[in-house]
């Protein structure tokens, strides 16, 4: 049974439509990440799930129960906020037990649950402090403790790591993932950070302008983006989106890409695809390698590419990024660290055609 089902959800303020026809469903134990640029409606959607914002149309079911008009406290959810929203005048212990106190849970149970959660999050020494006396990471833990102690059907996280510094963010990310695995909790998590989305999620919803662009596993989203927006948004450095021309010839597809120097770069996809004349070729930086000129590995698409002029070389330790100019846009290739690539020189690059995406330049939709 799905733990959360959102059916044709609409949300508008007057004439301004914030969310358009949202349909999402997740199973028990799923980690759903809502990701998108700011203003895409992801936080609003989370608030709608929480019941903090009324919805204009559609239904929300949690654990099979229709909660569309139900107040937040009766939805069996717990939420972690971006600013942590700890009650400033209460001690850490009272912050965590406040919800139980409001619900009239008896003192002994409160103490037992508090002790359990404090041990789990290693915040036992902090229980008597006020939120003002805690560091960012500690506040984050307390905020999670407040959610954990509720033992709800569904956890909601609203950009919980965005106020932490980079290093702490990575370690808290791992902890959240571990927590999810240990508890087998069902989680809806909002972030604008696509790396957070990729690393945490079992399912990702990419949103833009109040519309769902794609729903899928991290691998699906990464390897087969549904449109150019998703392709560009997910992954760092971003997928190269190269304007190109396509035509079918001898049972294969020939792709022509404009080059700054010399004639167009022509590559051949051995599959005959029904592509329009004008396309956008989407290829991830790691799917552009140094051309070896040798026969490709068995079962792989043939090596396709040519010599290009390299503009910039960016060594990044484990990899070296080489930037060239194709089809009128900068194109980044992720090469081996020891690559002999030099700026302002010609260098042979090959595209892994088994992994490229073709998009329509008109509506940006995926073609293959």
């Amino acid at each position: 049974m799905p733990i959360l089902e959102i059916d044709h959800l609409q949300k508008s303020y007057g004439d301004t439509h914030i969310l358009h026809d949202i349909n999402v469903s997740i199973d028990e134990g799923d980690f759903l990440v809502l990701v998108g640029p700011s203003g895409c409606g992801k936080s609003t959607l989370l608030n709608c799930i929480a019941g903090l914002e009324p919805i204009t149309g559609g239904t929300i079911r949690i654990g099979g129960r229709d909660v569309t008009g139900v107040s937040p406290k009766d939805r069996d959810i717990a939420m972690v906020f971006q600013s942590y929203a700890l009650y400033p005048t209460m001690s850490v212990a009272r912050n965590i037990t406040f919800g139980m106190q409001v619900r009239g849970v008896d003192k002994a149970t409160q103490a037992a649950k508090l002790a359990e959660v404090a041990r789990q999050l290693q915040i036992e020494p902090l229980l008597n402090r006020k939120p003002g006396q805690l560091s960012g990471g500690q506040r984050q833990r307390v905020a999670m403790g407040r959610a954990l102690v509720r033992d709800p059907r569904l956890f909601l996280f609203d950009e919980p790591l965005s106020n932490l510094d980079a290093k702490l963010r990575v370690s808290m990310r791992t902890e959240i993932k571990k927590l999810h695995q240990d508890l087998n909790a069902s989680i809806v998590y909002v972030t604008h950070d696509q790396i957070e989305a990729m690393t945490l999620a079992t399912r990702i919803v990419v949103m833009k302008g109040g519309v769902i662009q794609q729903i899928g596993t991290p691998a699906e989203i990464y390897n087969r983006p549904a449109n150019m927006f998703v392709a560009d948004f997910m992954g760092s450095p971003a997928m190269n989106l190269i304007p190109a021309r396509a035509r079918t010839e001898d049972g294969a597809t020939r792709i022509e890409i404009d080059r700054d120097s010399g004639g167009p770069l022509v590559i051949t996809d051995p599959v005959a695809r029904q592509l329009p004349a004008e396309i956008v070729l989407g290829v991830r930086p790691e799917d552009i390698h140094e051309a070896t000129g040798q026969a490709h590995l068995p079962g792989h698409a043939p090596e396709a590419g040519g010599e290009v002029l390299i503009d910039v070389v960016e060594p990044a330790g484990a990899d070296t990024f080489a930037v060239t100019h194709l089809g009128g846009t900068p194109v980044t290739a992720r090469l081996r660290a020891e690559s002999a690539v030099r700026p302002k020189q010609m260098f042979p690059l090959a595209f892994d055609l088994s992994k490229v995406s073709y998009f329509s330049p008109q509506d940006g939709l995926r073609l293959n």
């Binding site: 903090l52 937040p72 406290k73 939420m79 906020f81 929203a85 009650y87 005048t89």
Partner: protein, 284 residues
């Protein structure tokens, strides 16, 4: 000495001069109230008393004549206390709840409501005298202390709402959301989360309201009856009812007595008043 320190001393000099200027009336009042009438007539206004006497203070407190009633300020002082304390308390409580609603529970038309309440701060006292008199008459509160409390509460709500609203908008809305998810309702959130944060702004509201209400003369003279006049009205009557010689020393003593409570409130809570007024910039 550098120019900088010279400027500094110049600044201090000017500030001290202003302070003396403002303290001068208080000095004259205090010295005059401690002189006998004889000494006032013969001596200089600025001179210190030759022989200190507390007789004028006793007279002002318990036997000076306000009109035909010769019991001093004492009964009127209590009228003022009975009026000001409940009026301050009620207007502060209502202002706190209003401010909480305006800041954290946005509802349709909230801006219009808030604008209307703000507008209430700018209505001159004189404009409401007639309608208020009629209202009090209809409610059967004309000429009574509860009537005065009612008037001051109504007039004060605009200010107290403004204070609390501006203070509470600095508290992140996520706190309310977190509390709602935790299961707390409207009043639970107010009492458990907002009220404990409110000491600075409660101080501001109390000082402001107390000063306004205690010092008010117009409402006091318009809406009070024989037994319910506040101290400001009585002070006016004492100063104006002279029998032959004008007792400046008694008048001065009476004026100081009438001003003491507001002075006391400022001295005790003034520090918090400044802190409360600037509290918006401090994170909770």
């Amino acid at each position: 000495m550098t120019t900088n320190t010279m400027l500094r001393w110049g600044l201090y000099g000017i500030l001290i001069l202003f302070a003396l200027f403002y303290l001068m009336p208080l000095f004259v009042m205090l010295t005059t109230s401690l002189k006998s009438l004889e000494e006032i007539r013969t001596g200089s206004l600025l001179a210190l008393p030759r022989a200190i006497t507390f007789q004028p203070w006793l007279e002002a407190w318990s036997s000076a004549c306000a009109g035909t009633q010769c019991e001093g300020l004492r009964p009127f002082f209590w009228n003022s206390v009975l009026m000001a304390v409940p009026a301050v308390a009620i207007s502060t409580v209502i202002g706190a709840i209003n401010g909480y609603v305006f800041a954290q529970w946005r509802f349709r038309g909230a801006n219009l409501f808030f604008a209307a309440i703000l507008f209430g701060c700018f209505i001159p006292f004189q404009v409401v005298l007639m309608p208020m008199a009629r209202m009090l008459g209809l409610m059967g509160l004309a000429g009574t202390i509860p009537g005065l409390i009612f008037v001051h509460v109504i007039y004060g709500i605009g200010f107290t709402t403004l204070f609390f609203r501006n203070y509470y908008v600095t508290i992140p809305q996520e706190l309310v959301r977190a509390a709602r998810v935790d299961g707390a309702g409207f009043f639970r959130i107010f009492f458990a989360i907002f009220l404990p944060l409110s000491l600075p702004i409660i101080t501001v509201s109390v000082i402001w309201q107390f000063t306004q209400i205690w010092n008010d003369f117009l409402f006091g003279v318009s809406f009070s009856g024989a037994g319910s006049q506040p101290v400001t009205v009585a002070l006016n009557n004492i100063v104006n009812s002279t029998t032959g010689v004008k007792a400046y020393n008694v008048d001065m003593a009476a004026a100081i007595i009438a001003a003491l409570p507001t002075l006391f409130v400022y001295v005790v809570a003034g520090k918090y008043f400044i802190r409360g007024l600037t509290a918006g910039s401090v994170k909770g």
